[in-house]
Amino acid sequence: MVALSLAMLLQATPALPEHRIADIFKPMASPAAAEKDIALLTIAITAIIFVVVGGLIVFTIARFRRRPDDGDRVEPPQIYGSNQIEVAWTVIPILIVFVLIGISARVIAAVENASPPKHALHLTLIGHQWWWEVVYPDYRITTADEIHVPASADGQYATYLTLQSMDVIHSFWVPQLGGKVDLIPNRNNYMWIDPREPGIYLGNCAEYCGTQHANMLLRVVAQTPDDFHAWAAQQQQAANEDTAVQEGKVAFEALSCVNCHTIRGTSANGKFGPDLTHLMSRTEIGAGVEPNTNENLRAWVADPQVAKPGCLMPSLKLTDKELDEVVAYLETLK
């Protein structure tokens, strides 16, 4: 009972709706909406073509199949072709194609060449095997996997993403916000999103990037501008200091954790793995492989290869005591 009320107290802001079904036909941002409109138009045109041509084929089969009473040796009239008909079914498809090309060109330009509005947030998303590093240069925040952005119904709070990769090609795809753009090493790519409603939007890495491509999941947390600023202010602070878990902090700093992870305000400043300064503000572990609960976190630190086989974090073979201390420390990193 006490635990329950404590949990309710901790939940200061109402939980955001989680959009687990990433339907491209339920867009929640301008690029996805533009893509949905052209998708529906294309589907309508191709559906008409399918009905007309498919209907003609089926009619032909039904009408001209050989009947039992047909004389076996009597051949049907031999028709060799007709230039008028050939011209007709060449010109009509060309006209349809030109309509589609024109519409495509408009949407391509509208989505690709849009310039940032006044309040645009800039962030850099860096792909790693198999997690996402999220950097907010204006706020000096570095976090991982869960991308917090402001949402607004009028589209005033667009977010511009600079996409980079540390290793191989990845691809950013959150279907309800927009189509995919690749993260390519040695290259900057750009895209933008402007979520219209607060919520959590799910996506996946969409370019095969090695062993754990499947568990390189994306969560875009769209918040009201006020909530976003509160979150950013909290993220800007250095890591929580709690004397109760001092042994854990010492153990963390003494172990090889620090070679890969950063916890701002401590001696841990590795860059190879996710920044853990505010680990407990994230809801998932291992780029979405499982929820960030006490048991999962402990099991993950003990051996990440169980939940995410092949991932680049090794099992450090910690003793039970070390494990207890380190996990207790990590759990204070709100």
């Binding site: 687990r20 491209i24 036909f25 052209i38 998708a39 294309t42 589907i43 191709t46 073509i49 399918f50 041509v53 498919g54 084929i57 032909t60 089969i61 001209f64 199949r65 050989r66 051949e75 049907p76 031999q78 028709i79 060799y80 072709g81 007709s82 008909i85 050939e86 079914w89 060449t90 498809p93 194609v97 589609l100 090309i101 519409i103 060109a105 949407v107 391509i108 989505v111 690709e112 996409l163 290793d167 191989v168 691809s171 795809w173 927009g178 189509g179 995919k180 690749d182 390519i184 090493p185 040695n186 290259r187 799910l202 996946n204 890495c205 370019e207 095969y208 990037c209 090695g210 499947a214």
Partner: protein, 559 residues
């Protein structure tokens, strides 16, 4: 002017008994285009079954969320080997096999232009296949890392660089395909030389069978497109073994360069693979409709147009790499334009059937299913060509569904039509029509059951090449249905294999011309003698046997 004056019934060769070692030697040492063609097709069928079994394992893994059938590394190797095998060890030898077997017979020649090059091409292709599969044993390399390649069939850089692909798996992938590619190029040169220089008297290019026309254009595409892949693979090996840094981004190379080089080959390759189905349909549909091919000049024009346009569409595989809006618009436009000549082909096949008397035997059933299914594939292709729509669909299961509609429900259906159609000619025995119909219906239902749902799961954001997925994202039902479809397909294939084996052993003897057809291969015995024709035929139209069977109403009066 004499046309085909040899009688259709002729005494069969006295059968001669060969000892086992003699028969093996006759197959291994042969330079006969028919034996090489059959060896290509048989090899392709074996690889088809291996690669199909791999697909079955993958579908089992994805049947339920959090599947535990195979782990991530095994799964990644499975889809890499499945794709690579289907394209290079099934699709390509099917091109070579059908072209080899049929082109000389259809143009009234005694063999291909270069019989020894032909044999070399087959064996080098086969050893390329062995090299690819040897990776399961040798792929670990000296460091012991890895097994079969796990970089995907288009092996995007820099995942293939030494830093991310240890061991020798990627090297086996590159060399296996490089070597078998030499075989494909040799075979393509041979087809071109044969079609241009070995046609029988009277057969001008305008009277050449449509099958040969399509294979001719196909062979041109092979020798234009494949060297781009060979060059890219040599560059990749220079990177991996000599530190050349073409594609190694850590050394300043370009990951996008690989994509351009690969798809400059890779998109024409899709047409290279589908053309044999076009070729087969252009022969089977007229014969089973009892009408000549409608709009023959337009069909030739369309196939040549597809050949040219297909060389200018490659970057539609790259709409998500961040090209400029102008490049994206250009490639969206060229991609949609290639739909026009493809549409012309579908319209002409339909017009060929219109007004005919359709005989619904197994080859024709597969052709009709091809028409409807390939129509779907073409229309989903238009959707993918609309670049903004493709930003959503690219690398999703929608793409998987699209190209399986093209290659399985398209190409493989065409190949089944061709196999049933020429089975009596090639082996001299009839196949079992009842089993063939079971094969058709069961396989058609299974294939549609598998690949229709995968379109929808793509709309719901499921990316391709994931070995597992969490429940609750709307993907479970579709994936479950798709896996059931694979089981149905497998049952359909058992009917096919049983039919082939049973007909080979105790099929009824086939007549020389069981379909009352019109091209030259049906004028010789079933199976044809090594020299094909006792007397070289002389033709006056594109349907020489029609002329022979209808002396009062021959085609050459109208052509």
């Amino acid at each position: 002017m004499a046309t085909l004056d040899a009688p259709l019934e002729r005494p069969r060769e006295a059968p001669r008994e060969f000892s086992f070692s003699e028969s093996v030697y006759r197959w291994v040492a042969t330079v006969d285009h028919k034996r090489l063609g059959l060896m290509y097709i048989a090899t392709a069928l074996v690889f088809f079954l291996i690669s199909g079994a791999m697909a079955g394992v993958m579908r089992l893994q994805l049947m339920f969320p959090n599947g535990r059938v195979v782990g991530p590394d095994t799964f990644n190797r499975l889809f890499t080997m499945h794709g690579t095998t289907m394209v290079f060890m099934v699709g390509m030898p099917m091109v070579a096999g059908f072209a080899n077997y049929l082109v000389p017979l259809m143009i009234g020649a005694r063999d291909m232009a270069f019989p020894r090059l032909n044999a070399w091409g087959f064996w080098i292709f086969l050893f390329g296949g062995f090299l690819l599969y040897y990776s399961y044993i040798g792929g670990g390399g000296l460091s012991g890392d890895g097994s079969a390649p796990d970089v995907g069939w288009f092996a995007y850089a820099p995942l293939t660089s030494r830093a991310f692909s240890r061991g020798a798996a990627t090297d086996y992938w590159a060399f296996g395909i490089l070597v078998s590619g030499f075989g494909s190029i040799a075979s393509a040169i041979n087809v071109i030389a044969t079609a241009f220089s070995m046609r029988c008297p009277g057969m001008t290019l305008s009277k050449m069978p449509m099958f040969v026309w399509v294979m001719l254009v196909d062979s041109w595409l092979i020798i234009v497109a494949l060297p781009a892949l060979s060059a890219a693979q040599i560059m990749l090996e220079l990177d991996r073994k000599l530190g050349a840094n073409f594609f190694d981004t850590q050394g300043g190379g370009s990951a996008v360069l690989w994509q351009h080089l690969f798809w400059i080959f890779g998109h024409p390759e899709v047409y290279i693979l589908i053309f044999p189905a076009f070729a087969i349909l252009s022969e089977v549909i007229p014969v089973f409709s009892r009408k000549p091919l409608f709009g023959r000049p337009a069909m030739v024009g369309a196939i040549v147009a597809i050949g040219f346009i297909s060389l200018g569409v490659w970057a539609h595989h790259m709409f998500a790499v961040g090209m400029s809006s102008w490049s994206n618009t250009f490639f969206a436009a060229s991609t949609m334009l290639v739909g026009v000549p493809t549409g012309i082909k579908i319209f002409n096949w339909t017009a060929t059937m219109y007004g005919g008397k359709l005989r619904m035997d197994a080859p024709m059933l597969f052709c009709i299913a091809f028409l409807l299914q390939f129509l779907c594939a073409g229309l989903t292709g238009i959707m993918l060509g609309v670049a903004p729509f493709d930003w959503q669909l690219h690398d999703s299961y929608f793409v998987v569904a699209h190209f399986h509609f093209t290659l399985l429900l398209g190409l493989v259906f065409g190949l089944f039509a061709g196999i049933y159609y020429w089975f009596p000619k090639a082996v001299g025995k009839m196949y079992n029509e009842t089993l063939a119909r079971w094969h058709f219906w069961v396989f058609t239902i299974g294939a549609n059951l598998t690949f229709i749902p995968l379109h929808f799961v793509g709309f719901l954001g499921m990316p391709r090449r994931i070995y597992t997925y969490a429940p609750g994202r709307g993907w479970e039902t579709w994936n479950f249905i798709a896996t059931i479809g694979v089981v149905v397909q497998a049952i359909g294939l058992i009917f096919f294999l049983w039919n082939v084996v049973q007909s080979l052993v105790k099929g009824d003897p086939a007549e020389d011309d069981p379909w009352d057809a019109w091209t030259l291969e049906w004028s010789t015995t079933s199976p044809p003698p090594e020299y094909n024709f006792e007397k070289l035929p002389v033709v006056r139209s594109s349907r020489p046997l029609w002329d022979l069977k209808h002396p009062h109403d021959p085609d050459w009066k109208y052509e």
